[in-house]
Every structure is written in structure tokens, then in C-alpha cells.
């Protein structure tokens, strides 16, 4: 190609320019039918590879966008799947509450636990039902699995519940078959068995096999009879004095609950709620209380 830095338009350049301008004006004045045919011919011949290139580029960009969308959807699905077991558990618990409410009949209030992030939350917590809903102090708090605790103080629309893990909690307990009587109390706040209960005051001559289901006895009038407390795990240690103490795995862990039921009206004397609750697991030795 010739390099001409000092050129101006020669006659040939001018003629070529005029010809191009004339052709452009001719193209402008083409009838629409001819114009469309010419454009179509150019698109299908000279421009075909460029149109193909542009289309492929657009497809690539669309594929990239789709890929990003698919990745985002996959991440959302993975996130939702991560919460799925928790949702299932909560659903099962709510269904259990519904079932318990049907079995209890009347005289209860459903309440939501207002969990707090403090580590002492399982010991005492606030529930969303109070005096206005009929809650009274010392009302029993239960879940479909068993005893949760009792109401310590009552506000207008909320109440403070002491769970069985609270050091001041005590409940009169009995084996499911009524053969062993004792006092259920938290095992302690230290050590590996911190979230266990104790069955205290069992007569020395009585031995309780592991797996025995312990329920509330109804003595004292705070808790109705038959609310599951837990399952005996084994002896708590070396016996002292005239009584034996057994470790009890609680039927309910307060930290796992989201809803509870508060028994608001006193049950008639002799009422037994045993059939209203689900039987705790590991109850292989239920009712087998050998006597010495």
C-alpha cells in the first residue's frame, strides 16, 4: 500500500467519491421491495459469518447469564436444604403439640418460647402467654414428649418458666407402673451429666433398672400425674444414707423446644395424663423394679 502523506483528492478519488455518493443515493431511493431483497441478499452472503459470530456471542453471553442464575438457584436450594431438617423437626413438634392438645382436652394454653442467646436460656426462659391467657404461677409446662418445667412468675402476656434444669426445680416422681417413688431434681450444673435429672429419695431396698420411665406422681398438686419426666439411665453414684439416687435422661430438652403448653386449670383428683404423652425412648425395662 502506498504511503502518501502529502496527498489531496485526485481526479480519480473525486470520481470514485461521486460514484459512491451516487450509489448511496440510488440505494436510498430503492423501492422497499428491492431494498429488502438487497438487504436480505447481503445478510445471507457477505454478512452471514458476521451475523453468525454475533449470534454465537449472544448465545455465549446468555449461557453465562443462565449459568450464573443456575448457580444462584443451586445455592438457594442448598441453603434451603440446610434448614430442611430443622423445619421438619419443628413441623413434627407442632403436629405433636396439636396431638397433645387433642388428648389433653381443655385447660391448657399454647405458648411460644422466646429464646434468648444467653447460655442460661435452658434453665429459665420466657414464654408468650401470661395472666391474660390464664396462666398462673406454678402451672405445669409440658411438651408432647413430657415435662418441661413450671411457671415461676406471670406477666400480663408473658411468663417466666423454670425448666427442669434449673437448680431449684423439684418434682414428685414415680415409675410408670407406680412401683418407685422419688423426687426428680436436676443433676447439677457441672460435669458431663449436666443435662440429666436425678431421681432422689428412692428407697434403699428398691433398685430401678435402666430404661424405666419416670413420670410425675401428682403428689403436691403442682404437676398432674402421668407427665413423663424421663428414663432412668443408671445409678447416680455411690449410695449414701437410706436412699438411692438414679440418673434420669430427661424426656425433653428445653433448648430444643419452640412451643410449649401450659396447663392452666387444675386436673381432677386422680386424673392421669400418661396416655396423653408419647412414651419416652429407651424404656426397655419399664416397670421392672426388683425388690431386695
Amino acid at each position: 500500500m502506498a504511503i502518501r502523506t502529502d496527498r489531496y483528492a485526485s481526479r480519480a478519488d473525486t470520481l470514485l467519491f461521486v460514484a459512491c455518493v451516487g450509489l448511496s443515493i440510488a440505494a436510498l431511493s430503492l423501492p422497499p421491495q428491492w431494498r429488502d431483497q438487497l438487504a436480505q441478499g447481503l445478510q445471507q452472503s457477505v454478512l452471514a459469518p458476521f451475523i453468525f459470530l454475533q449470534r454465537q456471542t449472544e448465545l455465549l453471553a446468555a449461557a453465562r447469564t443462565n449459568y450464573d442464575n443456575v448457580v444462584a438457584q443451586r445455592d438457594s436450594a442448598a441453603l434451603a436444604a440446610a434448614f430442611l431438617p430443622e423445619l421438619r423437626n419443628e413441623n413434627a413438634r407442632l403436629r405433636g403439640l396439636l396431638g397433645l392438645s387433642a388428648r389433653l382436652g381443655s385447660g391448657y394454653v399454647s405458648a411460644e418460647i422466646l429464646h434468648q442467646p444467653e447460655p442460661t436460656n435452658p434453665l429459665s426462659f420466657v414464654v408468650s402467654a401470661g395472666r391474660h391467657e390464664g396462666v398462673r404461677p406454678l402451672s405445669a409446662v409440658v411438651s408432647p414428649e413430657g415435662l418441661v418445667g413450671l411457671v415461676a412468675s406471670v406477666g400480663e402476656h408473658s411468663s417466666v418458666v423454670l425448666s427442669w434444669a434449673h437448680p431449684e426445680f423439684r418434682a414428685s416422681a414415680i415409675a410408670q407402673d407406680g412401683s418407685v417413688v422419688g423426687i426428680a431434681a436436676p443433676h447439677g450444673a457441672e460435669g458431663p451429666n449436666v443435662w440429666l435429672l436425678e431421681l432422689q429419695g428412692v428407697l434403699y431396698r428398691q433398685q430401678v433398672l435402666p430404661g424405666t420411665v419416670i413420670v410425675t406422681s401428682g403428689l403436691g398438686g403442682v404437676f398432674p400425674r402421668g407427665v413423663p419426666i424421663g428414663v432412668v439411665v443408671g445409678p447416680a453414684g455411690e449410695e449414701k444414707g437410706w436412699g438411692r439416687t438414679y440418673l434420669v435422661r430427661p424426656a425433653v430438652h428445653p433448648a430444643e423446644l419452640s412451643h410449649v403448653m401450659i396447663l392452666t386449670s387444675p386436673r381432677p383428683a386422680g386424673a392421669d395424663l400418661r396416655n396423653a404423652f408419647t412414651t419416652p425412648q429407651d424404656s426397655a425395662g419399664t416397670g421392672q423394679v426388683p425388690r431386695e
Binding site: 467519491f17 438487504a39 447481503l42 459470530l53
Partner: protein, 172 residues
């Protein structure tokens, strides 16, 4: 002139054409993104005679008209005029400075859009004002920026070696 200049120059032109059909749609709005085809024409006019530049402009314009048949012929006329006068202006002003070339790219884009708007007569007055005062300057600016970048990046390919070039101030 080096023997390889024969290949390097078409490579750059081809690259600009490919960029026009691949990258341009991803560089922002259609009215703002740089016009690589027009840029290729304007770079071509730096070296070519006005007649060849006009013919190249006519071909490019006609092909673009085939993509937008609503203003068929307007693009051919606009590119012909821009190609011819760009080459002619280059010969008259003898501008080698990069800023002048950037201005040439900007003006070429804006004038091309002006001619297409006037000849096609498809837009209303307010739309024409927006096109000429907002969108065309933006497109001219982006085209000029890309053009300057291409000239700088490929300066060794676009400026052929000539005897005494260093003394004339032309980049080698």
C-alpha cells in the same frame, strides 16, 4: 515499509471487525458503545487515498444498512462522506498528533450519526436533539478513546517505518 506491514494492517482491521460483532454488545448501551466498524474505516482513511476511503466507507455503510434496512442507503452515504472527508482532511491538515486523531474519530462518529439522522428522516425533532447532543457525543467519545488506545497499542504496526522518520517526529 516492512514486509510484515502487509499482514499486520489487515489483522488490525479484522480484529476491529470481529470486536464489532462480538464485544460491542457487551460494552454498554448500543448508542454509547464504541463503533468498531467506523473506527476501522477511520483508521483506514489515515493511510488510504480519499477515493479508496470513500469506497470503503460505501461498502461498510451498505453492509450496515443491510443490518438496519429501515434507513437503507443512509449509512452508505454517511460512511462514504465520512471516509472521503476524513482522508481528505488527513491530507490537508497532516495531523500526526494522537489528540488530533482522537478528535478525528470523535468528529467522524458524530458527523456519521448526523448524516444518517438527516438522510433517513426517521426521528422526530426532540429525538434528533437527544441523539445529536447526548448519545452521539457519548458514542464519539467512546469510539475516540478506543481509537486512541488502538493507535497507541499497535503504533508499531500502524505507523510504517520510513527513512528519516525519527527526525520528522513520527513514532517508529
Amino acid at each position: 515499509m516492512r514486509r510484515t506491514d502487509r499482514y499486520r494492517y489487515p489483522i488490525i482491521m479484522t480484529m476491529l471487525v470481529v470486536l464489532h460483532f462480538t464485544v460491542r454488545s457487551h460494552l454498554g448501551g448500543d448508542r454509547v458503545a464504541p463503533d468498531f466498524l467506523l473506527l476501522a474505516l477511520l483508521i483506514y482513511t489515515i493511510r488510504a487515498e480519499p477515493g479508496k476511503s470513500a469506497a470503503a466507507g460505501f461498502v461498510i455503510g451498505l453492509l450496515r444498512d443491510a443490518m438496519t434496512p429501515a434507513s437503507f442507503g443512509a449509512g452508505a452515504l454517511a460512511h462514504t462522506l465520512v471516509g472521503f472527508f476524513s482522508s481528505w482532511a488527513k491530507a490537508v491538515f497532516f495531523a500526526e498528533h494522537v489528540f488530533v486523531r482522537g478528535c478525528l474519530f470523535f468528529a467522524g462518529t458524530w458527523i456519521r450519526n448526523l448524516i444518517v439522522l438527516l438522510v433517513s428522516g426517521k426521528l422526530q425533532s426532540s429525538q434528533v436533539a437527544w441523539e445529536l447532543l447526548v448519545w452521539s457525543p457519548l458514542q464519539g467519545l467512546t469510539t475516540a478513546l478506543v481509537g486512541v488506545a488502538v493507535l497507541w497499542f499497535f503504533r508499531g504496526w500502524l505507523y510504517p517505518r520510513r527513512a528519516g522518520a525519527a527526525t520528522l517526529g513520527v513514532p517508529a
